[in-house]
Symmetry: C2
Subunit: 414 residues, 2 copies
């Protein structure tokens, strides 16, 4: 794989600048830069920056004044209630980050050491890491060409051939391990075919934990992503649609699971006036009140962020429509995507230009990124089982994320 | 164990109030309440509250204005530098909490699944949980009567009888497992006999990871706790001497360990201009910049907090000196304790009154707590190996933590 342009220590940047190819509208990277500049204007632009235009300062100050900055406090309770109200789920448990949320969710879904869990190959590494924390093994599934997330139809064909049902459990014929759960991930905010996943899960006795880390504000037929499975998990990392600095949440309609999640993430401490009893190996995973205060202010602005990101998609769409050899990923039919990160896809014939586009855009201060390296290529997951991954491999070669901050348009002179 | 006064649902609190024993200066609980009131005045008093009297608000606002609130940012770097400067260690890696710090530290100390790790029975459950996260088993050690933390002399006698050295590794004769590491914990801020621990560790080939979660600002012969072993771990939870909301740090003098800690806590991501490469199963454990901003402001005030807590000790000492049947725990010779939580010890003959004292003090709004339930009594650790624990058991029956906030004295009319 061609690496980006690097500056050797002994080469002045002036000299390097002279080496850069002159503008050539026939070259794909320059046509892409032009299209992005049409939308975001000149200057340096990040991939995704948080926007603090609401009550952030007020709530943080109030949190400080209360002295409740740690894992107990009014803002944690309010943030959880606000998440419940927004997503239309019954319960939310705020935690330190999306990885912690998924770790605990998998535990509560019954994932045991030695199990396998179906996860997309095309996802951030945390999805597989959470499986590994349980002592289980990720089993990689291919993507849907349009939705980017996993394709339940292709997976169904694969499982029919490679899994058998024994005592109501799906067992991988090749490894002998129980395939316990499936983790659909709504990649870049575009909902997977969740009905297809649910049907598959019923037929193969899989627990469904939705990794909705990227899809706060994404809906399927009016129902929020993350609320279809047994549990869903959210992330409020600094690069997400809303941020708490670092943070995440488990959402569920099941009161017992919510209670268990709260218990497990609070060191499994038993309520008592003063005694320190803990009835299992728990985790120190609760979200601090300070971070929840930020989250409350951010969540108030979410509808505005989503509208801005949708408008950004439309502007990119207009700017890229005359550019041949590329297309923007649009929300699937029947879905509302949050357009967390705008996704540009190179035509398969142009895939070899991906790194040239990445280098050229980043060189001129337009921060772009490729999709994640498919997880089965990473050292810790090289030996994990996987189905054939032709679509994920194709997407990996062709996908480029464009600058996607909600405040981008307001900063562009119109 | 006698439980505290509980309010049955059908009993009105008015009725309960009438049942309360009248003041009787012959009763230990009333003599203790009087002594505490002498120091902290009237009104409700917490066990330990954070004090935000410095640059907290300024730094939080600056952090918000920078938009860098997540795991990368200037305050994270500064907080790490400030921790390095304060503790006199070479490297600090800021993480989401003390539990995460200890988990990663144990991994980097070479603790493997199936190993045993020596930890005190008298500690917060997180010390053992971090061992469990590594797939290892905590092996419980007894306490020192004066220092509260583990007693290396007693442990040496025990290990001589129960461990043998094979190929340069200590092997537990009873379980056949390698005893890989030892985690001295500086309980309530009082330093353990660290030289004794280091000598023991040398003789039995144990890695030393100091759990200094409670001992920021505690020193042994002028050297900071947590800097004697291979690594030390700190906590900045809301109840600690300084707080970041939730937070912790790994400190070490070893540059390779620091580099590895930084890598493992950042999802093991390999540096690259845009690619998402991860070379092992890493963790999402870095401290958000927002929390580090709070930490920088708190650390500036640490010397003042320590002076106030030392003064509080002196006042309690004066107030309790006429009270028979109790004594305050003082810093060990040659050490400076941070006096994180003031520790009152009942005489062994009065141990049966512990819960009466706890109930009476909490009933009148003076928040007190017992020591932790010894970890070998908790369900998840009931089957863990342990040495005889007579001292820890005695301390558990007799120790009561008193209100210990640094700002307590300034709020008392003098």
């Amino acid at each position: 794989m061609v690496s980006g342009v690097r500056t050797p220590a002994f080469v002045s940047t002036r000299y390097l600048h002279d080496l850069k190819p002159v503008y050539d509208p026939a070259q794909l990277e320059h046509r892409i830069i032009d299209a992005i500049r049409t939308v975001v204007g000149n200057g340096r632009v990040s991939l995704h920056e948080p926007c603090f235009a609401g009550n952030e300062w007020r709530y943080l100050k109030d949190c400080l004044d209360s002295t409740f900055v740690s894992s107990v406090g009014a803002y944690v309770n309010r943030f959880e209630s606000d998440i419940v109200a927004y997503t239309g789920t019954r319960h939310a448990v705020a935690v330190v980050n999306g990885t912690a949320a998924l770790h605990v969710a998998l535990r509560l879904a019954g994932v045991l050491a030695g199990d396998e869990v179906l996860v997309p190959a095309l996802t951030f590494v945390a999805t597989a890491n959470a499986v590994a924390y349980c002592g289980a093994v990720p089993h990689f599934a291919d993507s849907d060409q349009q939705r980017l997330g996993l394709n339940p139809q292709a997976l169904r064909e694969y499982l029919r051939a490679s899994v058998e049902l024994r005592n109501g459990q799906a067992v991988n014929r090749a490894t002998g391990r129980v395939v316990r759960a499936i983790v659909p991930m709504h990649a870049f905010g575009h909902p997977v075919d969740i009905e297809g996943v649910l049907a598959l899960a019923r037929d193969f006795h899989l627990a469904v934990v939705e990794d909705a880390a990227e899809s706060l504000g994404s809906w399927v037929e009016g129902k929020h992503t993350g609320t279809f499975g047994l549990m869903g998990t959210l992330s409020f990392n600094g690069n997400k649609t809303i941020t708490t600095g670092g943070g995440g949440a488990i959402i569920t309609n099941d009161p017992d699971i919510a209670r268990r999640a709260r218990h497990l993430t609070t060191t499994a401490k038993l309520p008592h006036r003063w005694e320190y009893g803990h009835d299992e190996v728990g985790f120190n995973y609760r979200m601090p009140n300070l971070n929840a205060a930020l989250g409350c202010a951010q969540l108030e602005q979410l509808p505005g962020f989503l509208a801005a990101k949708r408008e950004l998609y439309k502007r990119y769409q207009a700017a890229f429509s005359p550019v041949s050899d590329v297309r923007l990923v649009a929300e699937p039919a029947g879905c509302a995507s949050n357009y967390w990160l705008q996704c540009l896809l190179l035509e398969p014939t142009e895939a070899h230009l991906r790194d040239r586009v990445l280098a050229a855009t980043n060189d001129v201060g337009l921060m772009t990124r490729p999709a994640w390296t498919l997880l089965h290529r990473l050292a810790p997951y090289r030996d994990s089982p996987r189905m054939p991954l032709p679509v994920a491999e194709s997407l990996e070669r062709r996908l480029i994320n464009l600058p996607s901050s909600p405040q981008l348009l307001s900063e562009v002179p119109s």
